[in-house]
């Protein structure tokens, strides 16, 4: 048993012994101090949280006698920074010296480390991490601080009220005595029951030392010298290399495999037929790739997406959205009585919008390393995943073994964007199955072509928008009907049939327009089972839904002859935070200043509690229809700004991602098969494509909400609105390819 396995086992035993409270309505974060007796060597501790001797304060914090404060991070890291931000929240309330904090990845135990704001899952997605954990982590930090204060008070025989803390030190001001956290940890006794911390005893935001001040992300230094470790970098003794040729259409399987050419390649060890494809194992990566490419496979023709064509799909989806083809429907938003109110409307506007499939294109092609024991009864895996328990579960399921026989090494991710959060974690299972076959460790790497062909895409969508107006021109009814592939069902059948209640929450997200003062609103989503592999992609349903609704809002402004900014402020009259970001971004962009040959476009979004507005400044090459973006301004109010510069970085990142989705990125499917292959035909933004990006972070005292993807859905509508402002032509199909711009300009 490895040290890590031993730690997992100890952790589980400790949990069983002390018992964590699991409420009927979901998870209650049972806080159980004193999980281990004081002074217990931490090597056997719950979280393997510190080196040397130390005291395990709770499942999140261990303090070593040298003052090192080890803090668990339950999030996985793909560059978004929550691996640093979550421990920082604990450290703030604990008053820890940040330079003495060591961040430790959480073992995959959802009962302790699951996100209370995200189905209790260990699932780093949805920009839900800081917002979901914020409250409980402050409590945990404050409770540990209180235990340290109580111990110091007993030690000095003074009332605890006379004590205070400075970073990593308890201070008795009256006598001038000071004692470091490490020293206290050496003798501290930890109570059975966690101390109560009333909300008023948490730090006042004005006293924050870490929250709101920028610290360097913990893993950053490793990312400038090549030492950062991703799963693709891991090498273990006796390791082989694998590659997998997967069926071009989900659900197809290999009927006939001609592997003669593959086996003839030097270094090829084994060719294995699976229900979903053909795997090869070789002594080198290049032999594995060559052997995969040399396979000739006849595939069964029973995949559901057989014959699917993404161009034709637009017509089918339009028919579904218009209700001329029957399809199940789910409600995205329902306020008042929109259908009934349309009868009373004097005028009605309607428009149709479309979005193509899109690909995540994380820079690290999917890969994993697995080492399955020769008997097939235990496994170690190394992977970058958005959900540690999903990777463990998928491995255990593939081998038919209990989850406690699987040890996960949670590695940095070379990008995630939603691609590594699918329930089946197929990129991990590839390695597990091949390792089992050859009884040696196998690292399976997908090539970029594999990554595109086997991609799991942002759904294709068609949106029909209708708005009804009273005689004064005020909007009284709003109806959004849209059809997409069913992403939620494909991504995570377990959640789909569980907490999601068989609703495609991925595609529904962002269909609502809660801040806009339109009294009667209905959004109806038609999820279609196409057999195409579809999952969440950065910005999830918001990207398509906001493209449709924010362009439509703009079209209404033009129709009514009102300035789009004034129109939005009128619609946002009851939403002060929303008005503030819109007014801020308009000021940043100097909305009222006329430009020669450049147009401005505005978009506003409510995104899971975050208010965000953006303005794009564009020019259009009138001969080709090529859009050139010169500036993009964003104002974002996410409540408390935990790490302000990281919010700016995430917002810049979201804008660049949105530019790609809105300008060039498109997956097309013919005969059920993906047509694109690599960065030459799936073109993402490069340095020269990126405008000046200006971000204003509006910090408020509200609970912090997400920042990791909120700007992505702003970009498409802002660009389309800017093109319309400049040319009068309205592009209603994303991405805004030059030929599409040209077509509407000529119309």
């Amino acid at each position: 048993m490895t040290a890590l396995q031993q730690d997992y086992r100890n952790a589980q035993q400790v949990m069983n012994r002390r018992g964590f409270m699991v409420g009927a309505a979901g998870l209650t974060f049972g806080f159980s101090l004193g999980l281990l007796e004081a002074g217990t060597p931490v090597g056997n501790g719950v979280a393997q949280a510190a080196t040397g001797n130390g005291t395990v304060m709770n499942p999140w914090v261990t303090i070593a006698s040298d003052g090192t404060v080890a803090i668990i991070s339950p999030a996985t890291e793909m560059g978004q920074g929550s691996t640093t931000s979550l421990p920082l929240i604990i450290a703030e309330e604990l008053d820890a010296d940040w330079s003495k904090v060591r961040i430790v990845p959480a073992p995959p135990i959802e009962a302790i480390y699951g996100n209370p704001g995200f189905y209790g899952s260990m699932y780093t997605a949805g920009s839900a991490t800081v917002t979901g954990y914020f409250k409980v982590l402050r409590q945990f930090g404050a409770q540990v601080r209180r235990v340290l204060l109580d111990n110091a008070a007993r030690h000095w025989s003074v009332p605890v009220e006379e004590l205070t803390t400075e970073p990593n030190v308890v201070v008795h001001l009256k006598s001038g005595r000071r004692m470091g956290y490490g020293e206290i940890a050496g003798f501290a006794s930890v109570p059975e029951k966690a101390p109560e911390i009333a909300p008023e005893h948490l730090k006042q935001p004005s006293r924050f030392r870490l929250i709101g001040k920028d610290v360097m992300r913990s893993e950053l230094p490793s990312k400038v010298n090549g030492s950062a470790r991703y799963s693709i970098d891991v090498q273990v003794p006796d390791m082989l290399y694998g590659a997998v040729l997967r069926a071009p259409i989900e659900g197809s399987s290999p009927e006939k495999v001609d592997d003669a050419k593959s086996r003839a390649i030097t270094g090829v060890v084994k060719v294995v037929k699976f229900p979903f494809g053909v795997g090869v194992v070789a002594q080198t990566p290049w032999a594995a790739f060559a052997a995969k490419n040399a396979l000739t496979v006849t595939w069964s023709r029973d995949g559901k997406a057989q014959g699917f064509d993404s161009d034709e799909a637009f017509e089918t989806y339009t028919a579904v959205a218009r209700g001329t083809v029957a399809n199940p429907v789910e409600i995205g938003e329902k306020v008042g009585d929109a259908p009934g109110t349309f009868d009373k409307a004097t005028t009605v506007m309607e428009a149709e919008y479309r979005c193509d499939y899109a690909y995540h294109a994380q820079m690290e092609p999917l890969n994993a390393l697995a080492s399955v024991s020769p008997a097939g009864d235990t496994a170690e895996i190394w992977c970058g995943t958005q959900s540690q328990p999903m990777a463990v579960d998928a491995t255990a399921k593939a081998l038919g073994i209990p989850t406690d026989k699987v040890v996960l090494h949670d590695m940095l991710m070379g990008g995630g964007f939603g691609r590594r959060g699918n329930r089946d974690q197929e990129f991990v299972v590839d390695a597990v199955l091949l390792s089992k076959e050859v009884k040696r460790p196998v690292k399976v790497m997908w090539t970029r072509e594999d990554d595109v062909h086997n991609g799991r895409f942002r759904p294709l969508s068609v949106h029909i928008l209708r708005a009804g107006f009273d005689p004064d021109g005020s909007p009284i009814a709003w109806h959004h009907r849209y059809a997409t592939d069913n992403a939620g069902k494909f991504q995570d059948p377990l959640k789909y049939n569980g907490p999601w209640k068989q609703r495609d929450v991925i595609s529904i997200a962002g269909a609502d327009i809660p801040s806009y003062a339109i009294p009667n609103r209905l959004a109806e989503h038609f999820p279609i089972d196409t057999g195409i592999r579809v999952v969440a992609l950065r910005g999830i349903g918001f990207v398509a839904n906001k493209f449709a609704t924010e362009v439509f809002i703009d079209e209404i402004a033009y129709k009514r002859g009102i300035d789009p900014l004034a129109w939005r402020l009128e619609l946002l009259k009851n939403a002060p935070r929303a008005r503030k970001v819109v007014e801020s971004v308009a000021a940043m962009a100097k909305w009222d200043r006329k430009r020669d040959d450049r147009g401005l476009g505005l978009a506003y979004i409510d995104y899971s509690g975050t208010s965000i507005a953006g303005v794009a400044e564009v020019s259009v090459e009138r001969r080709t229809g090529q859009i050139r973006v010169s500036n993009f301004w964003v104002a974002i109010d996410q409540g408390i700004a935990v790490q302000p510069d990281n919010i700016i970085a995430q917002t810049e990142s979201s804008v660049v991602y949105g530019l790609g989705l809105s300008l060039t990125e498109r997956i097309s499917i013919k005969h059920g098969e993906v047509q694109e292959s690599n960065f030459y035909d799936y073109t993402v933004m490069r340095n020269r494509d990126v405008p000046e990006i200006h971000v204003e972070v509006i910090a408020t005292d509200n609970h912090p909400t997400g920042v990791g993807q909120m700007a992505t859905p702003l970009v498409g509508p802002a660009l389309s609105n800017a093109v319309a402002a400049l040319t009068g032509a309205r592009v209603r199909h994303s991405p805004l390819l030059p030929e599409r711009v040209l077509a509407v300009m000529k119309a």
Binding site: M78, G79, Q80, G81, D214, M216, E219, L220, S222, K223, V224, N225, G226, S227, A228, R229, Y230, I232, D233, Q235, T266, T284, P285, W286, A361, Q362, M363, E364, P365, L412, M413, G414, G415, G416, F417, M445, T447, R448, E449, D645, N646, A649, Q650, E652, S653, S654, V655, V656, Y657, N678, F679, Y680, V684, M685, R686, N687, R688, V690, E692, I693
Partner: protein, 151 residues
């Protein structure tokens, strides 16, 4: 075939098929994994290294081509992250997921070695060989400008 060349100042002899991409030799045989695999087609720049001081896509270079030549990877740029580009990268908080950043840094270092005071346009054009899916481009430009100032 056995090919001898230098990596970060140390001579290595690698026995592998002549056409093996240098990228995989560096990563799996020399075991310097800072150089990354991104596309295998010279399109993304994650595998960027220096060969005799010139930047090169290591996925597009065959092992036999580097015989007797001098290869530098991110691990050899400095022993202690003290290269002006590395320092500027930290000062501007450039990396996000970080996967492309070895290649970005090697491209940037090659630019400044030739052109210590590049214009903004020169920086943007030179760096457009390297894809960053996290979109750290504005910070990459700022970091190169900083490195140029502070070097």
């Amino acid at each position: 075939m056995a090919v001898t060349f230098s990596v970060n100042g140390t001579s290595v002899t690698i026995d592998a098929p002549a056409a093996t991409p240098l990228l995989w030799v560096i990563r799996e045989q020399v075991k310097l994994t800072g150089t990354k695999f991104g596309c295998g087609a010279g399109l993304c720049g994650a595998c960027m290294i220096h060969i005799d001081g010139e930047r090169a896509f290591s996925c597009q270079v065959q092992l036999s081509e580097v015989s007797g030549r001098s290869v530098k990877t991110i691990e050899g740029l400095s022993g202690d992250s003290s290269h002006p580009v590395q320092k500027a990268w930290l000062a501007e908080n450039v990396p996000q997921c970080g996967y492309c950043q070895s290649g970005q840094i090697m491209s940037a270092a090659a630019l400044l070695a030739k052109n210590p005071k590049p214009s903004r346009d020169e920086i943007v054009e030179h760096m457009s060989t390297n894809i960053c899916r996290c979109g750290t481009y504005p910070r990459i430009v700022r970091a190169i400008q900083r490195a140029s100032r502070e070097a």
